[in-house]
């Protein structure tokens, strides 16, 4: 009997190794999407486009450094170039797994650094269709994940994962993600509201190889209910550039070093 069990388990092993659970897929996706490299820098152009076609621009440099393992602590530093009324503003986030982030904003007109209270789960990032959570990531354990199916999207094999929030802390009741089986980047996400209606769609339009890391360099988040959408493109991006820990400080929020933000 024992021999039989051993044979059976041995037989199952390779299958277990290959068949990822939905949670493992999402973990890998989080690593590929938000934790690549030791650090990361991107010059980001955001276009906020209203239903009527009116465009607003947010141009910024985003710097990110990882502390610890994938899914662990990260620090973000954001410097705004455009529009004029937020030029030279800087914004810093210490992101922690499983607890609220610390956030600071520097207001250049009065030379003041302030902590800001904002819940990242529902707050829009600079008025765009992306929430803070879309930018910096959501804790994997905040949702229950299940594999709905596997299918091709634009010729790429994908896992389709359903993630339902365990608590009522976000605007959607669940999310479907198309995760590329090859590089684990999310190619598409659909957000469903409480009436089960699709209301927000994320799509990755361009993926480029940057220093060996597949990187989503163009993405869009579209709100189907308001018709508003936000297009994001990375004009420049780079990994493992050796960002100093000291960058993430009040000193440099007030006087961001050119070499990091340009």
């Amino acid at each position: 009997m024992i021999r039989f069990l051993i044979v059976l388990l041995a037989g199952l092993l390779p299958f277990q190794a290959f068949a990822l659970t939905a949670e493992e897929v999402m973990k890998r996706s989080q690593s590929a999407f938000l934790y690549q490299g030791k650090d990361f820098k991107a010059r980001v152009m955001m276009k906020l486009i209203s239903k009527g076609g009116q465009e607003r621009i947010r141009e910024l440099t985003m710097l990110r450094k990882n502390y610890g393992d994938d899914g662990g602590e990260q620090k973000f530093f954001i410097y705004f170039f455009q529009p004029a009324d937020v030029k030279d503003m800087t914004f810093m986030v210490y992101k922690y797994p499983a607890k609220d982030d610390d956030r600071w904003l520097f207001v250049p007109a009065i030379n003041m650094v302030r902590r800001i209270a904002a819940q990242d789960k529902t707050s829009s990032f600079v008025g765009s269709d992306f929430t803070y959570e879309d930018v910096s990531g959501r804790d994997i354990q905040d949702d229950t994940h299940s594999t709905v199916r596997e299918e091709k999207l634009d010729g790429k094999d994908c896992y389709v994962i359903k993630s339902a929030p365990k608590a009522v802390d976000v605007d959607y009741s669940y999310k479907l993600s198309w995760i590329d089986k090859g590089n684990f980047l999310p190619l598409k996400e659909e957000y469903y509201d409480r009436k089960d209606a699709l209301y927000k769609v994320f799509s990755a339009e361009e993926i480029k190889d940057v220093k060996g890391f597949p990187t989503v360099t163009k993405r869009t988040m579209k709100n189907l209910q308001t018709g508003h959408r936000t297009e994001v493109s990375y004009v420049k991006s780079d990994y493992n550039i050796g960002i100093d820990n000291s960058l993430f400080s009040e000193r440099f929020l007030k006087q961001p070093p050119k070499k990091w933000v340009e």
Partner: protein, 458 residues
Amino acid sequence: MTVLNARYATVAKLTLRCRTLATVLRFTSQRTLYKTQIFTSETYPHPFFWIMVCIALISLLPWAAFGADISLHGFFQGNYSFSSRPNPDGGDFKWAEERMQLKLVASKEPFRVFIKTDAFLDHIDKNGELELREGYIDYTAMNWDIRTGRQIITWGLGDLLFINDVFPKDYDSFFSGRPLEYLKKGVDGIRLGIYPAFASFEFIAIPMFETNDYPDSKRFYMFDPMPDVTNREKKDHATNIKNTEFALRIYRDIAGFDASLYFYRGYFRQPWMMPDNPMMPAKLTLFYPELSVYGASVQGRALDGVLSLEAGYYDSRQDRSGKDYTVPNPQTRFLIGYQRQMWEDFTIGLQYYNEYMHNYSEYEINHPEGLPKDKRLYQLVTIRLTQLLKHQTLKLSLFSFYSPSYRDYMLNPEIKYNFSDYIWAAIGGNIFGGGEKWSQFGQLRKNDNMYVQVRYEF
């Protein structure tokens, strides 16, 4: 005798907070120190901002020659504030101006030059002026940096309440419905930052004393205890080494909280009044008593929001005993603030603030009969509500002060809309009331105003 006593008393106790607004009633504002009049009423309203553009462009040339990176930004702004009743001088506006600001940055590491200059047409005084808001040069090294010139320094954690932010403010702007950034005035000084691993240090030396600005008596009704004594002289501090103000801030992270210690040695920035003859004053001297401040603050995440604590001991060096009625008593000031996002793009901010007067018994003994008396404990609460709508282009906000000590208040509702990335407009009101005719907001009760700000940024 009763009348005399009352008069004596009122003069003597023209004291804390905005009651001292009255002390500057009969003075031309501090503006002249800061601003150069470039057009008189005869030449008004000539288009003068091209002069600024030329100055800015000319000043770019030497920097361009050094291969420095240069950027030029700024704005055009219209700012009008309508009084709910005619001003003391009969005018209808608390503020009415068009303004252009140029921000010039030239940088070539390790140096950086920053110049922020405003030019404006003031329709109340009917003139055009230039104002250097900030102008400094930075030098940045690995573990330290230095900033020399006119600069705005903001310390402390309070939202419109200042304990360790001992730097000059412009309350005239604040009550007149100007954009909030005009509440802060620059100081002419040196700021040295040193950043060893264990803590950060900010050391400031200000050789040129700069006072607070208070509302103008032509535009604002305020309590004046001695309207008959028009002979008033202001005694400013000479610019020399002895009178240089020093400030130090030491800060670091402690267990996830931002912690700061503050030290300041300088002067009160609000004037106090000394009569030449207490019984029959013919002349009042306005002066700025010596002050040292020792303070601390912590701020961090707590209770699903941001919690702030700040305290400071105001060492009134010329009247530690509290016996001199012309100089404020020492005080301890304390602030607790809490800010939280309640739902999407809606934030609430609450603050409780108090001032505790030391040696109150001496104050009471030396406090002349027949005039309003300060309480040992002065309390103030504030609330700020902010809702952003329409992809954060529309901002509805309300800020209010209320003092449980005097039951007076100020309300500031505002609607701000960003029409595009370049143009925004704000409409708001300043409403005052309650309290006593001499209390901080009570004395402003006849000064309700509605303001409009429109800005094009480039």
